[in-house]
Symmetry: C2
Subunit: 257 residues, 2 copies
DNA sequence: CCCATCGGTTCATTATTCGAACCGCCGTTT
DNA sequence: AAACGGCGGTTCGAATAATGAACCGATGGG
């Protein structure tokens, strides 16, 4: 594996649950030698992508990431634009709503508005979602470029639950349905007990850059509820798209039927 | 130079002014061979730290950065906590206000609220500020750990304008004054025509993690104005500190007089 | 008091990175 | 239309940087 890949994979070990990690632990988790891990960390620290807590000597993600992320956000301000809309959507539906951004064959969860209800779906910021196993992914595929769809469907489709669609044709069919309806629907494809509905956010070229999803416990999500949620997800995604681009954008293409 | 450093320095070439860069250009700016730059970019792209625009084939910062930054922010939510306070401060003073975070011997500008006035100071998100040449830096040094102060003052002090303090003793004196007053003041030390006042935001250990600064054109910043701004900066920084930690924190130490 | 584990360092060995030269492509200039 | 220059991308022997077992001193729980 290339050195850079190793270094970045160190960064990816930090999660919401474990935001600070010691050297030995880090090396073990990454499958690297301690010396190697340290050299990489020092290089990352020099550019402030990681920091070392002076007291505990443990490592955590650095401020340089915030800096770089804000440079990126300035040109594509998805998060700040989307937050108020997501919040409203969460309040209206009473369910957890999350925003994901497409990047290199997967969706990255970049914001979450949790439902106020006691029985709710918990989604974590930072989670990486597979395209074929989630409503968000299906919604994205439905409006993505042909290559994206092809790349996803040609790769082996891993199962996350017993409900995950692992047959490319099944996925293709779900994508087709989403392309027709404008929103996707998926139950327990990625996590047990979770039902989701999602719609794509489009970039200025008319291809999706991310998705809005509404996640409910399966117990609360019948067909009629899903249809309503679908319409609301579309509405929210359109609204975010419009604010992002400054004008209304039509999808550049969708999965042919 | 280590491979990782090269890779990260590629990331740092992206700025607000130039958020998308082509391969050759990128290699030239980084002083790397085209082949090398590409290999590094591919590794970064794999982890979504950069993305390639499919149409133009140019590169830009990736969504993975947003993801990682949000994991970090979740544990140290400086930006979301600070924004409303900064905005109010900017409105009250009529000046540009910015938030910086300390990391590895420098301050990273992570949020800016621009003044509404026509004649205002423009500060860019993502700028890296030196400790000795800015009000923010002086404010931080005034309350920082001894080692931080030592490291900064022992290194050669580069001049950014003809006004920059390059004499360690002069800086030391400014830091002492800031430690007394609780806020720092600096004119044209980093950019011509800019006057700034800053106060430190403290972490739970009582040492500064960042600063709030008010930046005005020198023409608008007399002594009395500066004193008022200083008090307001302190107030804002205290308020952010309190919200961050959940309680009022006293500085763990300050530059001895 | 000991043993385990921590963060960190060293240096001969080895695997990875490097980069000049090379594609094919496209838009401009001659 | 031919020649050109710059682009993104690729190749492969030479050169360099990464590697990891062994080692340090410090820390802390049994």
């Amino acid at each position: 594996m290339s050195t850079v890949r190793k270094a970045v994979s160190l960064l990816e070990l930090f999660t919401l649950e474990e935001p600070e990690i010691g050297l030995s632990d880090l090396a073990r988790k990454a499958g690297l030698d301690k010396a190697t891990a340290r050299r990489l960390l020092m290089a990352l620290a020099e550019h402030r992508l990681v920091e070392q807590e002076p007291a505990s000597r443990r490592y955590r993600l650095g401020a340089g990431l915030t800096r770089l992320a804000r440079i990126r956000d300035a040109q594509l301000p998805l998060v700040p634009v989307a937050i108020p809309i997501l919040r409203k959507l969460s309040q209206q539906t009473g369910e957890t709503v999350h925003l994901s951004e497409y990047s290199a064959g997967a969706l990255l969860t970049i914001h979450v508005e949790l439902s106020a209800k006691a029985n709710r779906v918990n989604v974590n910021v930072g989670q990486i979602l597979p395209l074929h196993g989630t409503a968000s992914g299906i919604a994205l595929l439905a409006f993505a470029r042909d290559e994206v769809r092809r790349d996803c469907l040609e790769a082996p489709l891993t199962a996350f639950t017993t409900y995950t669609m692992t047959d490319a044709d099944k996925v293709r069919q779900a994508v087709r349905l989403a392309a027709e309806r404008g929103y996707s629907r998926s139950a327990q494809g990625y996590e047990e007990g979770v039902h989701s509905v999602a719609a794509p956010i489009l970039g200025s070229d008319g291809y999706p850059i991310g998705t809005v999803a509404i996640a409910s416990p399966v117990s609360r999500a019948g067909d009629s509820v899903a249809a309503i949620q679908g319409a609301m997800a579309i509405e929210a995604a359109r609204s975010i798209t419009a604010r992002l681009i400054g004008e209304v954008v039509e999808p550049a293409g969708r999965m042919p039927t």
